[in-house]
Symmetry: D2
Subunit: 324 residues, 4 copies
C-alpha cells in the first residue's frame, strides 16, 4: 500500500507535495525516495515528524505500530491519515483518538470503499429516499485465494473476520446505523491448513442493528475466480445492489458457452477509490474541513470485528456493549 | 395452485389423464370439472379415493388437511403428490410417511425448484466437480409484497421462516447435505402490522452443516420491485450463481438511465418447474421408478423450518436434534 | 413445425379443437393423428377442406405448396393461418391474398416474433413515446450452424436473405414503417460449400425507410455458440434493445473465468411466441376480430426479401418499387 | 484533449517530462504552463520546435494545422504523436508521412481504442485462435448528443462519418484487414438542423474486406442515454463482443423496475486508454521501438472515411481505390 499512496501523493493528488518518507529500514526509505522523487527520507517516524515542512502524514506501517506513530504524530501537530485497522483493540484505538482529539489534529482512518462511485451513488439514492427506510443489508467480501499463512495469522491480522470484515462492518454502519448485537459462524473449509494458525477461511456474520434492521456479512478466502465485493441494501420502497464481476469489457462466445473475466483483486477493484480517499484527506487538511471518515468510525468497526470474532468462537450472540 | 396443476394434468402432462377432482365445496369441485373438462367431481377426498379409476392423487388442500388426506390416500393404494409443506410438524410428517412406507405407495412432496433448469444445471456442475467441494451456500427468497395477514398468520402458514424458507432449506440440503444447527434473526421491519399476527417479514438464517460447511438463508417480503430468488454455492474450485432478475428481454435506455423489468412473482419464475415436477411424478407412477424427491426430504425441510423459527424466537443456536 | 402447432392446438389453445390433419403421405397423417389424438386424418388438403367440421386451417406445408392450399382453403370458406413465407414471389402472394380478400376469410401469416414479450413490450414503449420518434433500427438473426445444404438451396429456401431475414424485415416495417430502398452485401464466409448451391452464409442489409429512417439487418449462419436474435430501435429520446443471450439462469465461476450457456435455437427462444401466435389467430377466428398480422405484412416482407437478395447479387441500391 | 494529455504527461507517464507547451494564443500557452507546472511556454510550434530539450511533441491542434506542424516537427527531428485525424485528405496525410519517413522520426497517430483493455483482449483472443477466422465485424459509435453545429461543420470535422467513424474504421482494419469497398447511408434524422451545415447525425456504413469478410459501422449522435461504443467480431469458431453500458456499479430496484446509469461520454469510457496510448508512444521514443500504431494506419482510416462519405453522398458502392 505504501507504493500506491506514494504514487498518488507524488503526482496525482492536487495540493499534495510528497516531501519525505520514513521506514525503519533505511534501504526501503531510500529506495522509495528515489523511485518516487521524494526529496527526503528518514529512518523512522520520529525523524520524519521533526521535519517542519511536513504538514500531514499517511500512516501505512504495520497495525501493531499504529498507536505509537499516530500518538507521536498528533503530538507533533501533524494531520493524520491512518490505514485500517487503526488498532487491534478498541482500547488502543480509543487511546489514539483521545490524543488526536485533545490536540485537535485532523484524523482520517482508511476505508476506501466509502470513496468508490458505487457506494457513493448508493448513499445518494438512500438520502434521496429512493428505497424508503433501509431495513436489511448484506455485504460480501471474498478474496480469490488465501494470503500467506503468516499474514493471516490472527495475532497479526486479527483473523479473517477482523481483517476482511472490517470494510463490510464500516459500510453496514454507514448505511444502517449502529449495531446492537452480532452472531457469527465460520470455519477453515477450503484451506484446512488455516487451522494450524487458529484462523478460518469462511465466515457469515449476522448483525442486528440498534434501529431494528438486520444484516449479514459474508466473508471468504476462496472466490477462486476473482475478487467478489458486493453490498445489497433492502428498503421499504426499493433496494440497491453495489458491485460487479467483470473486469475487461469483453464477452467470448464459443461452443463452450459465453464467458468473461472477473475482477482480479482489490487494487483493480478499488484503485480509483484509494486515490479519491487520499484526495479527500488532503482536501480536508488544506481546506480545513472535517475529514470524510471519523475516528469513531474506525473504533466502531474494530468493536464490530472483535464482537463478531468472539461470537464465532463462542457460538453465541454477542452484544456490542461487551466489547470495550 | 389447484388451477395450475389442473391445467397441466388436464392437457400438458404426457401419460396423465385427469379423471376426477374433489373439494369440500361442491361448487368449487363442479366448476373445476367444467373448466378443465374433468369427467367426475366429488365432495371430498373420501369419495375421490373410492374412484377405482384414480391411480394417483395430487394433494393441494390446506396444509392442516394434508395428514388425513395423505393417510387415507395411502390406505386407498393411490400414488401421492403432496404440496409443500406436507405438514406443520415433524411428528405429523413422520406419521404420514410411516403409513406411506408401510403401504408402499409412491409419494412425492412438492419442491418445484428442484425441477428448474438453473438448479438442475447447478447440481450437474457440482457432480462434474466443476466447483470442487461445496463449502458455503447462500440462498435468497424475497417476495414482492406481503400476502394478506390471514394468510401470513403463523398458525396457518407456519410463519415467514417456514412458509418461505422451506424451499431454501430443501435446496441447502440438496447441495450441501444435512444441517447440524441453525441460528436465525428476524423482525417485522417493512410491515409493522405483521407483529399483530406474531409474524415477521424479514429473516436471516445461518446454517452449519454436518459436513462443516456454512450457509445463510435470506428471507423477505419486501423486494418491492419483484420476486428475488437466488442461490449461490461456493466450492473449493469455483462457485455457482443461480437466478435472474429480468423477465422481459427488453432494455429501455433514456436520459433517465438504462432499465428493465423484474420477475413479477413465483408463477412467472417457476411455471416450467411446476410442470416438470408433476411430469416427473407422473413418470415415476407410470414407470415405477423412485420419485425424484423423497418423503424424508419433506420431513427434513420441516425440521429445519421449525429449528430456525425456534432460534429466531429464542435468539440462540438450535441443534437440529432438538426438533423431533 | 407441424409437431409444434399440433401440440399447441391439441391441448394448449383455449377454444381450439384439433379435428383433422392432412398430409400427402398417409403414413405421416395417420401417425400424427395417433400421436396427438386427432379424430380424423386425410391424404391431402382437398379432403380436409371438405370436412365440414373444419373451421380454420394451419398451412404448414412446403412454401411451394402454399399458394394452392391457401386458395383452395379460401374457396372452402376456411379461416387460414399460413407459415412464413406465404410464397416465394410477390406475385404469388398477391394472388393468394386477392382470393382471400374476395372470399372474406380471416388470414394470418406466421411472424411469431411479433408475439414475443420483448417485441410486444418494445412496441408498447414506442407507442407511449418513451423513445420519441424511432429513426434507426438494427436487427440481427444468427443461426448456430448452417442447415443441410438441400434445405439452404435458394430454389427451396429463397436463400439466406429471404429465409432468415424475413423476420427482421417484418419487424423493421412494424417498428419503422415502409422501406424505400435496400442495399445488401453477403458472402459464403464460414461455409465455403454454400457456394456450390449458390447461397451465402452471412449478409448485411441496409434499409432506407420511406420516412427517412435507416436500418441494418445482420444475418448469419455461424453464431456457433447459439442463437443470436436481437433488435435495437433508436429514437430521438431514447432507445430499446430486445433480446438475450443466456438460456439457463446459472453462472459458473472458476479460475477459467465466469461463464454461462447460450440460447440454443429458435424453438427455445420462441416457444412461447409460437403458442401466443396461434392463440391470437384462434381468438380472431372465434371472436371475429381482425388477425393481428395482415396479409399485406406478408407480401411486404417478401418484397423486401427479394429486393435485398437482388441488391446483394447486383451490388447496387434497389428501390422497393422494382420488386413487383 | 490538450488538458488530458498535459495531465498525463506532467505526472503520470513514466519517463516523460513535460518541458514546454505552445499555443497560437499566448494566454492559453501561459495558463497551461502554470496549471500543469510546465517550465516553458511558446507562442507557436515553431518556437517550441527550436527548444533543444524537446525530444518529442504531441500535436493536438486543429486538424487543419496538423500538416504544417508535423512536417516542421519532423524537420526539427522530433518524435511525433499526432491526434486523429492526422489530416483531412489522403494526399495531405501521405505528404506528412513521406516527410516523417524521409527524416526517420518516430510517428504515432492517435487511435486510443487500440489501447483499451477490451480491444486488446479481443485481439489476443483472435491471435490465440479462439474464434477461428474472423469473417464479420460490426462496430458502433454513438454519441449522447450532437456537438455544437460549428464543431460538426463538415469543413472542420469532415462530417459525421469521418469524425466519428474513423475509430471504427481503424478497428475494422485492425481486426479484419484491408477494406475493398464501402456503401453508406445516412441522414439528419434526430437533429434536422444538421442539414443547415450539410451534415448528418446517423449513418450506417457497409464494408467489404479484401479478404472477403463483411462489416458494418453504425454511427449516431443520438444515444441520448449516454455513450455507446461496441464492437463485435464474428469468426468461424466463435465471436467476441467488446463494450459495456454501465458506468457506476449500482443497480437501483424499485416498483418502477431495475435500472442503472450509462457511460456518460468518451473521457469516462477511454480515460485509461488515452493514458496507455501516450505511455506507449513515450515508451517507443525512449526505448527506440516501432510505435504501436503506424502512419499508414492513419492514412487508411482517412481513406475509408472519405470513401464512406462519398458513398453516402452518391448512394453507390465506392471502391477504396477511388480515394487517393
Amino acid at each position: 500500500m505504501g507504493r500506491v499512496y506514494a504514487t498518488y501523493l507524488a503526482s496525482r493528488v492536487r495540493n499534495a507535495r510528497l516531501v519525505a518518507v520514513a521506514d525503519r529500514s533505511p534501504d526501503v526509505a531510500e529506495s522509495f525516495s528515489k523511485e518516487f522523487n521524494i526529496p527526503r527520507w528518514y529512518r523512522g517516524h520520529e525523524e520524519l515528524l521533526a521535519d517542519s515542512e511536513v504538514q500531514a502524514v499517511a500512516v501505512l506501517s504495520s497495525t501493531a505500530s499504529h498507536k505509537e506513530v499516530v500518538i507521536d504524530a498528533a503530538r507533533a501537530g501533524k494531520a493524520i491519515f491512518c490505514e485500517k485497522p487503526i488498532a487491534m483493540s478498541v482500547e488502543d484505538a480509543e487511546e489514539m483518538l483521545a490524543e488526536v482529539r485533545k490536540l485537535g489534529v485532523p484524523f482520517q482512518p482508511g476505508f476506501q470503499r466509502r470513496f468508490d462511485p458505487g457506494y457513493i451513488a448508493a448513499k445518494a439514492q438512500i438520502e434521496q429516499g429512493t428505497i424508503g427506510t433501509p431495513v436489511v443489508l448484506t455485504s460480501t467480501s471474498r478474496d480469490p485465494y488465501r494470503p500467506p499463512l503468516d499474514f493471516c495469522n490472527p495475532a497479526v491480522s486479527g483473523g479473517l473476520i477482523a481483517d476482511m470484515g472490517i470494510h463490510d462492518f464500516d459500510l453496514a454502519r454507514m448505511y444502517m446505523g449502529e449495531v446492537k448485537s452480532v452472531f457469527a459462524t465460520g470455519g477453515a473449509l477450503a484451506y484446512p491448513e488455516m487451522e494450524t494458525i487458529g484462523d478460518i477461511d469462511n465466515a457469515i456474520v449476522n448483525l442486528t442493528f440498534v434501529g431494528g434492521g438486520l444484516g449479514a456479512v459474508h466473508l471468504s478466502r476462496n472466490a477462486v475466480f476473482g475478487y467478489d465485493i458486493r453490498t445489497e441494501i433492502w428498503g421499504t420502497k426499493g433496494s440497491l445492489q453495489i458491485g460487479y464481476f467483470r473486469q475487461t469489457p469483453l464477452l467470448v462466445m464459443t461452443k463452450a458457452g459465453i464467458s468473461h473475466d472477473a475482477v482480479p483483486y482489490f487494487m483493480e477493484r478499488f484503485e480509483g477509490a484509494y486515490l479519491a480517499q487520499i484526495e479527500s484527506f488532503i482536501d480536508a487538511v488544506v481546506n480545513g474541513g472535517e475529514p470524510a471518515v471519523s475516528g469513531s468510525d474506525a473504533v466502531e468497526a474494530i468493536r464490530l470485528s472483535l464482537a463478531a470474532t468472539l461470537s464465532c468462537r463462542e457460538q453465541r450472540v454477542v452484544e456490542l456493549d461487551e466489547c470495550k
